[in-house]
């Protein structure tokens, strides 16, 4: 049955636009909301991707009127928007912005919020649909969710949908994430819960699936017969900023390894999904996450580190223990590297080296497939001394693109082979026009498309990988490394013991 005669599957120019709805943001005055969410909402409006009947509702403790809030939102959106600023677009958006003031444990405030949603129904025609964005510390989740349950805001019915967006961290270990999942799922139905991992909204990550499953070139060698090892790196040059309180309790493994790196691993290692749909992709990712094996020799294959004072990019950098708000004897790791296995026919025997750290020389995220060396080289030994392993590198950020590294003859009268790289660069120039990760993910939430969101089983499977590591590390002291170098020596030794070395990204 044709529901809308103007919709035509062949007509790819018309954007997917969500149903009329409201976006409710808890913690609208927070950092994330100001730097990412509000600009993303503006960009969506500017691109004409918001529904015709749309409202934005902010909820926070601050004592503000709609006007004050609109002003803050305008500033925030203007500062960080990626699309050109058009005052008229904002004015239209500002007409549908509301603010509700209150504490999360304040029954009256939530009654007011529920009433405001009702009002928006008549004033903006949002059709009862709403997405709740929990941009708040996880500790507040129970209170907020209970309030939503009490006021009946969380119920999806046949006439309307209600969705909730949860930011990482999704718990701090398997038990707490289960608890959190149960809590969220008891208030919202599982299909209405969207867990944001903003890495999955990045263009390159989506391109990884196109690269693998749209081409014939890569898939035949995408397995243990040809791949020697896989290195997944997410390096940051910044320290912990002002987030000492959060970071002290979390550490690099929980902050990055558990979500971003394991999701990248899953996308790299997964089998081809039966179709490109949320359910099928999640099924394949879950299979990989469940097949992950931990190293037997954790002492040498699970390394964590902590940065000490050093020099980075020409500036003196504090050590982690000297950062404000950090315990002078802290054992929280700022670097984690681990060797994992994926126990499937495709990947058995191929080590997956994952590493993440702060205060490393540069900000870079990449997935590198290191291939086996040719079984036989018909050249003289001296000819191929400089030849390394072939590599296929997916650069997630910055300089989004793909690099292929292979051997080539050095021009000249003697036969000499050395590594060269071939670059495909979706440079800044080209990604400027592509939506920012949050923009894409926010749109998907409003559309109800869960392809790029991990589901709770994935989160739990990830914690099942992290928990034993944390247990092993508990009470030990992280290896020190100087700010501005590529991690502790122990991490280099971990690869050296396997006869490999880290790629310098």
């Amino acid at each position: 049955m044709i529901v809308n005669p103007l919709r035509d599957p062949r007509d790819r120019r018309l954007p997917r636009v969500p149903d009329p709805c409201a976006l409710v943001v808890f913690g609208i005055t927070g950092d994330l909301a100001r730097k990412k969410l509000l600009p993303a909402v503006y960009d969506l409006a500017n691109r004409g991707l918001l529904p015709t009947n749309f409202a934005l509702l902010g909820f926070a403790r601050r004592d503000w009127g709609d006007q004050d809030f609109a002003e803050l939102a305008r500033e925030a959106a203007r500062k960080a928007a990626r699309t050109p600023w058009r005052e008229e677009v904002w004015e239209r958006l500002a007409g549908s912005v509301r603010f509700v003031q209150g504490a999360f444990d304040d029954d009256d405030a939530f009654d007011e919020l529920a009433a405001a949603l009702g009002d928006l129904e008549s004033s903006h025609g949002i059709g009862g649909n709403a997405a709740f964005y929990l941009s708040i510390p996880p500790a507040m989740f129970p209170v907020v969710l209970k309030q939503m349950e009490r006021t009946g805001m969380a119920e999806s019915t046949a006439e309307r949908w209600r969705r909730v967006v949860v930011e990482k961290p999704f718990g701090t270990d398997l038990a707490s994430s289960r608890e959190l999942n149960e809590l969220v799922d008891s208030v919202f139905s599982a299909d209405d819960v969207f867990r944001i991992d903003h890495y999955l909204g990045k263009e390159t990550v989506q391109n990884l699936m196109a690269l693998r499953f749209a081409n014939t070139l890569f898939e035949p060698i995408w397995n243990g017969h040809h791949v020697d090892s896989v290195q997944i790196t997410m390096a940051e040059d910044v320290g912990i900023g002002g987030r000492a309180g959060f970071y002290e309790k979390t550490g690099a493994a929980r902050d990055v390894l558990q979500n971003h790196l394991l999701q990248l691993l899953a996308l790299t290692a997964m089998e081809e999904p039966v179709e490109f749909s949320a359910e099928e992709i999640r099924t394949e990712k879950l299979k990989v996450l469940r097949a992950i094996s931990l190293p037997d020799d954790m002492a040498t294959a699970a390394i964590r580190g902590q940065y000490e004072p050093g020099w980075l990019a020409g500036q003196r950098a504090h050590g982690y223990r000297q950062e404000e708000g950090v315990d002078a004897a802290s054992t929280t790791e700022t670097y984690a590297a681990v060797r994992l296995g994926v126990e499937t026919r495709r990947w058995a025997g191929v080590p997956f080296y994952l590493r993440t750290g702060k205060r490393l020389p540069r900000r870079v995220t990449e997935i590198a497939l290191v291939f086996k060396r040719a079984p036989h080289l018909p050249f003289a030994d001296t000819d191929t001394e400089e030849l390394g392993n072939n590599q296929l590198v997916v650069r997630v950020q910055p300089d989004e693109g793909v690099t292929l590294k292979f051997g080539s003859k050095v021009p000249g009268s003697v036969m000499e082979v050395r590594d060269v790289s071939m670059d495909f660069l979706y440079g800044e120039q080209f990604t400027e026009a592509s939506p920012e990760a949050y923009e894409r993910l926010l749109l998907d939430v409003l559309l109800g498309d869960a392809t790029l969101f991990p589901r709770n089983a994935e989160v739990e499977a990830s914690w099942a990988v992290i928990d034993p590591l944390e247990e092993f590390w508990a009470g030990s002291r992280p290896h020190p490394y100087r700010a501005g170098e590529w991690g502790p020596r122990a991490a280099d030794e971990m690869l050296a013991a396997d006869g490999r070395r880290w790629r310098r990204p």
Partner: protein, 352 residues
């Protein structure tokens, strides 16, 4: 940037290669070649648009300006730019004088990116029959702009009669925001009803002489199976040629989208308060960028063009064009063999 005066095609190819070597890897990976055919008076505009579009789609830009076809001596001037005025990629701006202008493809062919699709865009009045321009024959996708013509309606008819799958028109691209707004309005209606919507009729208020207004009406007609017309509205429309669209739905309902003259439109629908959406007049570069997103035949355009002009059977036409030699300097259109002994005579053209 290098400018080559009175040069040859092979010198341009060499210069491009030389600049690529010395300029470093400004850009790697090219998705397509964009050939821009522009009048001298519109070159700056065309360059700006091509640069903006190239920022979304890595491409090689070849701008062809044909001048003074009656000049006695053929001549080629070329500007080779990498990572310069025309964006991060490779670009060549060529001015062709004399008989060379009729053989622009001889310069363009060796400059096309290897095995990548070719898109030709006329930012000039397009030839009546595209196949008389060899730059159309080598293209996988051809972009014209009926809004450039004095008489939009005749221009649209010409495009319909000449249509081949793979043709498209910027007058059609200009309707996208309107079409998106109308579609999402009907989405909202069907969402509220929880049931299908039927479109019974309606009207486009605007300038009946505007190509975009005609195509919008044509599209609506093709989608509802009923005839919609462009009627002169109470207000003069903006540059898009459309001021408002009113649609009659089943269950005796009506929806309307009206431009608010401030880069937006007001949506009116039953049982819901009015809403406004962004509906800006987009710069040429945005339009071109949208065209370059997909290079396969645009069936909805063919159907809209059929309805707008009454010319039928567009989607059944062959997608490949055969070059037809046409000499504008001759009244009968055929090249004189004495003058131009090397001219090919295509089988489609009668041999004198």
């Amino acid at each position: 940037m290098t400018t080559l005066w009175d040069t040859t095609g092979s010198a341009v190819v060499k210069e491009l290669a030389a600049q690529r070597r010395t300029g470093g890897a400004v850009l790697s990976g090219v998705a397509l070649t964009l050939v821009v055919v522009a009048d001298e008076s519109r070159v700056a505009e065309a360059e700006e648009a091509a640069t903006a579009a190239a920022a979304q789609h890595p491409c090689r830009i070849l701008v062809v300006v044909r001048r003074q076809i009656d000049a006695p001596v053929p001549r080629l001037d070329a500007e080779v730019l990498i990572g310069g005025r025309l964006g991060p990629g490779e670009a060549v701006v060529m001015r062709m004088y004399g008989r060379l202008a009729l053989h622009a493809e001889s310069v363009v062919l060796p400059l096309l990116a290897a095995d990548a699709p070719v898109v030709t865009w006329w930012h000039a009045p397009a030839p009546e029959r595209l196949q008389t321009d060899a730059l159309a024959v080598i293209a996988d996708r051809r972009i014209t702009d009926s809004s450039i013509a004095e008489d939009h309606v005749t221009a649209l008819r010409t495009r319909a009669e000449d249509y081949s799958p793979g043709d498209t028109d910027l007058a059609w691209t200009r309707t996208t925001p309107w079409r998106a707004a109308l579609t999402s309005t009907l989405d909202a209606v069907s969402g509220r009803r929880g049931d299908a919507v039927r479109l019974l009729g309606g009207r486009v208020e605007g300038d009946p002489g505007n190509a975009s207004a005609r195509l919008l009406a044509g599209w609506l007609s093709s989608r509802c199976g009923c005839g919609l017309d462009v009627v002169e509205g109470p207000r003069r429309p903006g540059p898009s040629g459309v001021d408002a669209v009113v649609l009659q739905l089943d269950q005796d309902e009506e929806v309307a989208v009206r431009a608010d003259r401030r880069g937006g439109a007001v949506l009116t629908q039953p049982y819901r308060p009015d809403a406004t959406v962004a509906l800006p007049d987009r710069p040429l570069g945005d339009l071109l960028g949208e065209e370059l997103r997909r290079l396969d035949p645009d069936e909805p355009y063919a159907e809209a063009l059929e309805e707008a002009t009454g010319v039928r059977g567009l989607s059944n036409r062959a997608a490949v064009r055969e070059h037809v030699w046409l000499d504008p300097a001759r009244p009968d259109g055929n090249g004189d063999r004495d003058d131009d002994a090397e001219e090919p005579s295509s089988p489609a053209a009668p041999v004198a």
